[in-house]
Structures are given as structure tokens and as C-alpha cells.
Symmetry: C2
Subunit: 267 residues, 2 copies
């Protein structure tokens, strides 16, 4: 953990009581006028890392109750629900100005300790053009400002970078702009950093609020670029299910993600 990295500095929390933490929501992670949801969650996981005996987030579900506010403080409270030898289950909440923004439910364990049998069953990484042959994620895709492009490099595969190009899929690469190595906590952020996958089919979408996002971290990632693919499974009456996978530079599956989001308007 490099203390001087953007990510570590901007998600730092200070303990203010038993299971109580204070942090600050930096405007540098905004998408449009709102802090990126993955960034808000990262402030919560910073508190969880301090509380929990197990190092790795195996399953993290976040309900986004209200948008966050950039440029002001936040409070995080943590309730340990159960902790055993191999697993801790925890609830955490993020508040700003007395209003709850995030509700988080997570199971943490230790990915370096086997919990049963192993197999060759996995999801292989897709072949996509190298990061150099991809296009940087740009606010224009959604018609919004993208402050967080200074913090994270998101490169989109040419096939999927075109609004209305035909596929309800986004693939590409992601890393911290300052080259901080990825870790399980960073993967949670990376699962919420790509443009909404329906835009390739439906065109510019504006802000697609996430109602709930669940991420399963599968392996600790090797250093380097993370490859990603997100697909819209189903979109009806504005309610979208998007499923995603992340792979590390060794082509190992490192995370799976699924979210329920709202697509209010198209082109």
C-alpha cells in the first residue's frame, strides 16, 4: 500500500469511536456532479480493512441510497455481524450531513487459504486489443464531465467504445493513473468505473444510477493492467442487470460483478 497513491490518500479514514470512522469525499473522483459510487465504497472498505481480522473482500453488496456529495466529510459506521475462523460478515453504512448514502453488506476471508477442492473451472479472459490500441474513456460518451479520468486510466476496446455501435457490451483495460498496484480493494472500485454497457446498443445514456452492486473477488491480482468486460444481461422498463468480469495481467479471473441499475433515458 503506497501511502502517497491517490487512491490510498483519497480513501483514508480516521477512527472516531468504536466502529466509527470519519473520511472526506474528494471531488477528484466525480462522474458528472456525483462522486463515483466505487469511490464512495472504497472509503467504506478503508474502514473495513481497519476493523476486520480477514484481509480479502470475498463478497461485497452495496445499496446506493442517495448520491454522495463531493468536497465534504463523511462518516462510516461498521457493525461486525459474525466473525469465525475463516470468514467475517459485516455491515457498514456511509453518511454525509446526517443522511445515509450507502448500505454495505460484506463477507471477508483470506484468499491465500484454501477452503475446499480446486478445479479448472473458470471464465477465460477474452482477447481484446492492447491498451495502446484502445480509446480513453471520455465524458462525452455520457455527455458529462469526468473528473476521475485524472485518477484512473480506463481504456475502451474500439469495438465497444462507439455509442450505438450495436453491442450492449463494454470491454477494455483499467489501472490507477499513478500506477499503484491493484489489490482486492481496488478491484471493487474497478468494477464500477466503466461506462454503462447498454450505451453501445442504445447510444448516450447520461447518468445510470446503480441501485445495488455485488462484487465477488476471486483472486488477488498480479501487478499491471486489469482487463474487464461488462455485458447488459437484461434491460426492461428502465431496470438493467449488468454482469462483469475482471482479469489480471496473468489472465486470471480476479473479480465478478453484477449490478441493478436504472436507465432512465436514451439518445
Amino acid at each position: 500500500m503506497t501511502e502517497s497513491s491517490y487512491f490510498d490518500a483519497d480513501t483514508r479514514v480516521e477512527q472516531t469511536g468504536e466502529g466509527r470512522y470519519q473520511g472526506y469525499i474528494d471531488p477528484g473522483w466525480n462522474i458528472g456532479d456525483n462522486p463515483n459510487g466505487g469511490y464512495l465504497l472504497s472509503v467504506v472498505t478503508s474502514a473495513l480493512a481497519d476493523v476486520l481480522p480477514h484481509p480479502d473482500p470475498l463478497s461485497v453488496t452495496t445499496h446506493y441510497l442517495r448520491p454522495g456529495t463531493a468536497g465534504v466529510a463523511c462518516e462510516v459506521d461498521v457493525e461486525l455481524i459474525r466473525t469465525g475462523r475463516t470468514l467475517s460478515t459485516v455491515r457498514a453504512r456511509l453518511f454525509q450531513a446526517g443522511k445515509q448514502r450507502l448500505e454495505v453488506m460484506a463477507a471477508y476471508g483470506d484468499l491465500s487459504v484454501p477452503a475446499g477442492i480446486t478445479s479448472d473451472i473458470t471464465i477465460p479472459a477474452p482477447a481484446i486489443p492492447s491498451p495502446e490500441a484502445c480509446f480513453a474513456r471520455d465524458g462525452k460518451l455520457q455527455g458529462i464531465e469526468l473528473a476521475f479520468a485524472e485518477k484512473i486510466d480506463v481504456m475502451l476496446s474500439p469495438e465497444t467504445a462507439v455509442p450505438g455501435g450495436g453491442k450492449a457490451e463494454v470491454s477494455g483495460w483499467i489501472r490507477f493513473h499513478d500506477d499503484r498496484a491493484p489489490d482486492p480493494r481496488a478491484l471493487l472500485l474497478f468494477c464500477d468505473s466503466f461506462p454503462p454497457s447498454p450505451f453501445g446498443r442504445l447510444g448516450v445514456l447520461g447518468w445510470v444510477p446503480t441501485i445495488e452492486l455485488t462484487v465477488h473477488v476471486r483472486r488477488r491480482p498480479a501487478p499491471g493492467w486489469i482487463k474487464a468486460r461488462f455485458v447488459t444481461d437484461d434491460l426492461a422498463d428502465g431496470r438493467m442487470i449488468e454482469s462483469g468480469c475482471l482479469w489480471d495481467s496473468q489472465e486470471k479471473l480476479v473479480a465478478e460483478a453484477r449490478q441493478l441499475g436504472l436507465v432512465r433515458s436514451g439518445d
Copy 2:
């Protein structure tokens, strides 16, 4: 809702205080010595239906902290986190003998009210043999007693019903044995009623405990059989991700599910 159905009778709860309910865990829903997890969740959703202003479970995440105990009472407590015009977010917990068994986090809404744009993006139903050409789920597949086969008909596609048959996939059909019509609450149970999908590749697996299961209900189901497919995405060091889909008798996608489970031992 047929009051005389097994499902409605066996998941009935009685209010004992503000957000407090009491129920009973019927032994008829056991898989081996443990109550089926989907059945335990159904007792919780019975309480949620009483508390929440919105009818449909859009996103339900359950952490299974400890196995349930059949033949004794349970308590459910419900905490409303946020309720708005279109969405309610809620936490619920199931206890038996003072010990917490389930931790549930859910968002409820109204699937009959559009929340934005619609599209033709969905997951089409796979072609599988008719229920009559399938095999009934049988405890022998896992080397356990299967009491709940008296309550639910689970029919497995011949291609995927063979332990060690090659594919880490289970597909088939499901309905209540007494023909109660499926509804969103029943879909949550149906997402946790098939044998673990790795058994087609790895053979008899015994009990595969679920750590966490998230279900997204997509549409209210039409009456009749529900078609289902579950696939193991990734299995390493005993930690499995299984993703599933349910379709109704009109071939519409009605639910998606994903769970983190433990595969402790193989054949």
C-alpha cells in the same frame, strides 16, 4: 396467494412487535439435515411482504451465517432503511434459539411500474427437454435425504443430471408440487432449489454451503413450470461462483441469481 399451499402455510409469520415476527421452520423443506436456504429466506420474505409498501423483491442478498434448525420456531426482525416513491431498502435478520442464521439486505419496488427506457436486450431461454423427459432431483445425486422433494418438483435435464457427466451446469424445470402459481417471492426459493452445478463435472459433492446469494427478480412470472439454468463460473480453492437464470412458461427471463458457495470435497 392460496392459503392452503404448502409454501404459504410453511412460511407464515405472526407479528410480535414493531418489525418483529415469529415463524416456524418446518422439517419438510430439509436438504439432508438442514433446512433449505431458500426456504429459510422465504420465511423472511413473508415478513417483508407484511412490512414493505412495495410488492416486488428487485434485489435480495442473503448471507447464510449458520445453518437453520428444522422443527423449531424462528424470529425475524426487519429494519426499514429507506423508503421512497419507487423503492424500499430493507435489512432483515432470522434468528433461532438466540443465534442469528440469516442476514438479508433487499430492495423492493413495483415491477408493474416502468422506471425508464425499455429494450430488446435480454437472455433468451435455452432449449431443454420437456419436464416429462427430465429426471426428478434425487438426494442420491448428493448422497443426502431430500425431504423437500415432497414440496417442490425439480426436474433435471438428462444432459446435466449425470454426476461427473462433463459440464459444470445444471438445467431443468421447477414448480410447487401442489401447483401453487409462481410469484416473485417463490422465484427467490427456486433460485436455491437445484443441485449444485459443479456436480456435473466433479461428481457427488455432499452439502455445498452457500455463503451469500443474490437474486434479482426481473419480471412477474406467468403461471406454469419455471425453466432454470445454473452454471459454475469459477471454482478455486473451494470457493465457487454459480450464476443462474429462471424463465417463465412464456420464455421470459424472470430472475437472475448468483451465489458464493463452498465446495469442500468431491467424489
